[in-house]
């Protein structure tokens, strides 16, 4: 049985019902889409590094997504997602003007950004989305920033123009060499370090294996590195404990203690293992629901 949806959602200080309207939808490449969603509570308070949980429809899964951008005036929040599973495919079917069932946040700790001489961001694929507001904030704080964006091919390199607005250097790495350097983001990073560029900090956001490899290099050169973890979770408020990660031998909840952590302390192998806990079910769900 359902609890009927006669629940009022009245926004702070205004007698406006909050419904989560998709005010803008954009296809970034064949696998990645952007949505700007009206979500006043989130837009009013969120900071770079924080995330939201979205539920596309009644009975839907709760899916965490890191915030890519926000507009306090328009009260909107931008999410960028890769269409990879049942729920993101469902989301992808929604059009501008449609609504999503639930959109809650901001969750997690804001990224610990501080003033220093130079920071480089390293993004893998859709990881460029959560990296973007972090670097932009650093640039606004007066910190010179560079970025390395990686993707399978030119088409999968996203947000390049947006980064160019405030980054001193935008480096690109693609697996097939169709744009920028042929190879991995880690190669570009190591080249820069070897060439003598001094970075006070690295912020790496992307697939776990990419972040693990970035940390391998930055450890060697002793450059502090923050990574953003996106483990499986349900509520996002500290209730389920499903998102527990091993940070320097201690168990932390990514939802309340993170999602950003000191990359040197993260047990990436355990994260990768836990990420796969429901792999078979993801498959079965798509078959079971005819997708």
């Amino acid at each position: 049985m359902q609890i009927p949806c006669i629940i009022k959602r009245r926004y702070f200080k205004k007698e406006v019902y909050v419904v989560y309207k998709i005010v803008k939808k954009q296809t970034l490449n064949q696998a990645v889409e952007l949505m700007e969603i009206h979500a006043p509570y989130v837009a009013r308070k969120c900071e770079p590094g924080q995330f939201i949980i979205i539920r596309v429809d009644e009975d839907g899964e709760r899916v965490p997504l890191t915030i890519a951008d926000y507009d306090r005036e328009k009260e909107t929040v931008t999410i960028i997602y890769q269409v990879v599973g049942y729920t993101t495919e469902l989301l992808s079917k929604k059009a501008e003007g449609d609504y999503v069932q639930d959109f809650v946040g901001p969750l997690g700790q804001p990224a610990p950004l501080h003033k220093c001489d130079r920071v480089i961001g390293v993004a893998g694929g859709v990881g460029a989305a959560p990296l973007y507001p972090q670097l932009r904030k650093l640039a606004k704080m007066g910190v010179p920033v560079d970025v390395i964006i990686g993707g399978k091919s030119a088409e999968f390199v996203i947000l390049k123009e947006l980064f160019e607005e405030f980054c001193d250097n935008v480096y690109i790495a693609t697996d097939d060499g169709s744009l920028g350097t042929k190879g991995f983001v880690t190669t570009v990073l190591e080249d820069q370090i070897k060439a003598g560029v001094k970075y006070d900090e690295v912020i790496a956001i992307g697939p776990l294996i990419m972040m693990k490899n970035v940390v391998k290099i930055t450890k060697e050169y002793d450059i502090p590195t923050m990574v953003s973890l996106n483990p499986i979770m349900i509520d996002g408020t500290g209730m389920c404990g499903g998102c527990r990660v091993n940070i320097g031998g201690e168990t932390k909840f990514a939802c309340v203690d993170g999602p950003d952590f000191d990359g040197f302390k993260v047990n990436f192998d355990e994260c990768m293992q836990r990420q796969g806990m429901f792999r078979e079910e993801e498959h079965e769900c798509r078959i079971g629901r005819g997708m």
Binding site: M1, Q2, I3, Y41, R62, M239
Partner: protein, 463 residues
């Protein structure tokens, strides 16, 4: 003439071997005749010890008298003068430690089945009562309630009746708190929870879902927005773990995660509902409280062949309601009392392959007054399981205490209140339920919500 039978009128239940494969309610409820027969067991004694045993002081003999006379709507009115959620309390209250524990009839034989009758009356009302218009005179003041669980709903229900505008802020997408995400369908049907919540909404309570107080908005911001008082009933949502090796292996859940996947996200309907839950063939549930029983019985229903309750103390110390222990046993849950987990082992892919357990013996009573378990050296053995569910309790979520300056809390996280008024150290802020006491019962949380509502009213009316 009182019914002098030493036993309660039996409760019809689904057969254990049928019900341990479905999610339908286990106890089927009394018929009219059964309720009236049981009501006749009440002696209507002078000093009414049962009322003192009830955390919200329901006038028990008065409602039973109405049941005996067949006036079920009258009985409902009597109960709801003090208890807004009778259908829920009739099902989940630990009556043996409360009203029924004090019943005179319990000295020789079984106490009067107060919980069963409460449930009957509430169900009868839901099925038969006509809608009545309520006219409440508004006083123009607004109060915010944080958390839409038992404490919050009760507080909101009381305040709306006193004329306040009440908004409840709920972090999840569905109201109900532990009634929605924690307690399983077979013990507390969710349509019933929905109806009880709806009845409070009909009185005019606004419920805003998807608002996390402490993140989406802070308590100070609520006060600035014109709320004259805030009641915090945010529960005890933070799961405890054992801190033993192997707890992050695949196949280890907190009871919260496991039950939330099944109840709130309807994992039992996977893949029709897309949130999966994985239950292996052999499941160990650590702990012996109500939550542990819920997790074990849920695992059995989801197809686990062997389900163990692993508990470091003996059966006597198990905190679960007697009925839950009894139902769990009937359904084939295997109890390993005086067994304490030492480590969880995994296969080469990181999946749970067994749990190492040390046998215990009981020593001297500890701070809780219960005899404390001591390990028997060399008694370690491996329990062959592929899923482990940790159900050893929850603590209050730290979000509110981290974002509310001036709110004093205990070392373990509970909000400190004046127990008479539920006032916190922060002016205008009240708290109650599990966020104050640590994980306790639905009815205690409701009692706290009610007490706070009375205190808020007194303060705001300048009484």
């Amino acid at each position: 003439m009182a019914n002098m039978s030493l036993k309660k009128v039996a409760m019809p239940e689904q057969d254990p071997n049928v019900r341990n494969k479905n999610f339908e309610e286990v106890a089927l409820g009394y018929t009219k005749e059964m309720a009236m027969e049981e009501a006749a067991r009440c002696l209507n004694c002078k000093n009414k010890p049962c009322v003192g045993g009830c955390p919200v002081n329901v006038p028990i003999p008065a409602f039973i008298e109405k049941v005996a006379a067949g006036d079920f709507e009258g009985a409902y009115e009597v109960i709801t003068t003090e208890n807004a959620l009778p259908a829920i309390c009739g099902r989940v209250c630990p009556q043996e430690n409360q009203c029924e524990g004090k019943c005179v009839r319990g000295i020789k034989g079984e106490p009067v089945g107060i919980g069963r009758m409460e449930r009957f009356v509430a169900d009868w009302h839901m099925a038969n009562a006509k809608e009545t218009e309520v006219n409440i005179e508004k006083n123009g003041m607004k109060v915010a309630v944080v958390g839409c669980g038992p404490a919050g709903i009760t507080c909101a229900g009381e305040l709306i009746k006193k004329g306040y505008d009440v908004t409840v802020f709920e972090a999840l997408h569905k109201p109900g708190g532990v009634l929605s995400y924690g307690i399983p369908e077979f013990r507390l049907p969710k349509d019933l929870v929905a109806k009880e919540i709806e009845s409070v909404q009909k009185l005019g309570v606004d419920i805003e879902t998807n608002v996390i107080v402490g993140r989406s908005i802070t308590i100070d911001e609520l006060m600035e927005d014109g709320y004259k008082a805030v009641f915090v009933g945010s529960g005890a949502g933070l799961p405890r773990f054992l801190n033993i090796p192997g707890e992050n292996h695949l196949g280890v859940y907190s009871a919260n995660e496991f039950l939330t996947r099944v109840n709130l996200m309807k994992g039992y309907k996977f893949p029709e509902c897309p949130t999966p839950v994985k239950v292996g063939k052999k499941v160990a549930v650590v702990g012996a409280g109500n939550v542990a029983m819920d997790a074990a019985r849920t695992a059995k229903r989801l197809g686990a062949e062997e389900v163990y309750i692993v508990y470091r103390r003996s059966e006597e110390e198990a905190p679960a309601r007697l009925e839950e222990l009894h139902h769990a046993k009937e359904e084939g849950i295997i109890f390993k009392f005086l067994n304490n987990p030492a480590a969880i082992k995994a296969d080469e892919n990181g999946w749970v392959s067994s749990m190492e357990v040390i046998k215990q013996e009981l020593g001297e009573p500890d701070a809780s007054g219960r005899r404390s378990p001591q390990p028997i050296e060399g008694s370690n053995y491996d329990l062959d399981v592929d899923t482990v569910i940790i159900a050893i309790g929850q603590s209050p979520n730290p979000l509110i205490r981290h974002t509310t300056p001036g709110l004093d809390t205990q070392k373990w996280g509970g909000i400190i209140v004046n127990e008479e008024t539920m006032e916190t150290s922060k002016d205008g802020v009240y708290a109650g339920g599990d966020t104050v006491t640590g994980a306790a019962t639905v009815i205690l949380a409701m009692g706290a919500g009610k007490k706070a509502a009375a205190a808020i009213d007194q303060k705001l009316q300048g009484k």
